[in-house]
Assembly symmetry: C2
Homo-oligomer: 268 residues x 2
């Protein structure tokens, strides 16, 4: 069992899934947000009422998870012909002193329709094997689970000073070459360092407040995806102490797998 | 009082806001989704615990609202230093037979930070007064509340046959010239007809399943916005009987007001 699969594991009792933070996915404060989002998506999938695959997930990061156990209260709000709506409330702490570190809503869909296409062009990039894995901030434990081969906007770009173009593009691989599935794709959507680092030319306190991911890949597309997926993201706006991040994830053959947006707290 | 303000009105009793569908905002089935989203945002703002202005809103459209009253159960999950998280559950029907037509999560923020800028360029477009308002499908009652001055991708483009570029760009004005504020900006994010119409070259059954909007405008920016805002959107992917829509809304002076994403059910 990979660290990733260990980290997203939860046990279900009725509508309550109990998960655990995992030391291999620790971030600066609390766990890597991507692993929390993946844990939510995975937990819904383990529920006996779950029908279909994840198509949309919004996770609101309300307070840092503390190391240890937390619960996810899963509510299947409605099952329609081809889709199913869920709400999720996270809880952590002892009775009487619980806090809600996260809320989420999710959409599952069963496959239908004929057309499968994308309107955004696959970026012109070198193949993954022509690039070296970046050496990132290894004190962030979660980053050791990934190899990132930057095409643009890597850690060196942060250190080169402030810039107005905050795009990062990299090939992403699980260090242990775990295959890509829905849970790991959701996590990958949060694998970018904050866009404010590039804007400011230095790391600054920052954290994802809310992230919404739409998954375009069907099961066959995901299963045909090799070890490396292409991830690209940029900020569209900075303001009110926030910035957004708009991300696209692609298979190595240029199929769009997911689009993801997040709003980030930043010190700019 | 404008039709828009009538339509978003709700009365609060404890944590439950009671709203009404409005005949002037009727869509094909149920009300225009934008007015429902605006009603949610507005209801949160009327709650005595509300602190700050809306920065993020996700609305999940689970089942069509029927004409008449519905309630919004508002929960303030947590107030942090500069932001506040809310969850919302819609209910409609008599006791014992209620359904949940929508769920939502919202983020309010208080203004902070220094930097205000945008990384996406304002499109090169003619001024609003150089364009004629489009004559749309006036049987959709809600569309009569808006004037749309199309730059590209209008109703004529739908009728010209299938196309791979699904972008629409138009200047949007309230027919009664009501000023723009947070609620009306949220509604405007859903003012696009489904991108599948352009892709198919014909109107087809379609409906928004989930919409997430991030509002970049602070109060001063919104108050300085004239009667016309520029709206542009395109689909990024079609697949699994779904497509997405990525939208940007701008002031007439080229300030980015909001970015919005939605996932749409389509017959493609």
């Amino acid at each position: 069992m990979t660290y990733f699969d260990e980290a997203i594991t939860s046990s279900l009792d009725g509508n309550v899934a109990t998960a655990q933070t995992h030391p291999k996915y620790a971030n600066m404060v609390g766990p890597f947000g991507g692993i929390t989002a993946a844990t939510v998506a995975h937990a819904i999938g383990t529920h006996p009422q779950a029908q279909g695959r994840i198509a949309a997930l919004t996770v609101n990061f309300i307070a840092p998870l503390r190391d240890g156990a937390y619960t996810l209260d899963l509510t299947c709000v409605q099952t329609n012909n081809s889709n199913q709506h869920w709400t999720v409330t996270g809880q952590q702490g002892e009775a009487g002193t619980t806090t809600s570190p996260l809320t989420a809503t999710a959409l599952l869909v069963t496959e239908r329709g004929q057309l499968r296409s994308s309107e955004v062009p696959f970026p012109a990039v070198p193949a993954a094997d022509q690039l070296q894995p970046a050496v990132g901030p290894r004190e962030l434990e979660w980053t050791n689970n990934y190899q990132m081969r930057f095409v643009e906007g890597g850690y060196d770009a942060v250190m080169a000073g402030p810039r107005e173009d905050t795009r990062s593009t990299y090939w992403l691989r699980h260090t242990d070459e775990r295959p890509w599935d829905y849970a790991s794709l959701i996590a990958a959507c949060d694998s970018f360092f904050p866009r404010s680092f590039l804007r400011a030319g230095t790391p600054l306190p920052a954290g994802t407040i809310t992230m919404t991911t739409y998954v375009s890949a069907d099961v066959a597309t995901l299963e045909a995806t090799g070890p490396d997926i292409l991830c690209t993201a940029h900020a569209q706006f900075f303001g009110s102490g926030l910035h957004d991040q708009s991300a696209h994830l692609w298979s190595h053959t240029g199929e769009l797998l997911a689009v993801s947006h997040q709003l980030v707290y930043s010190k700019l």
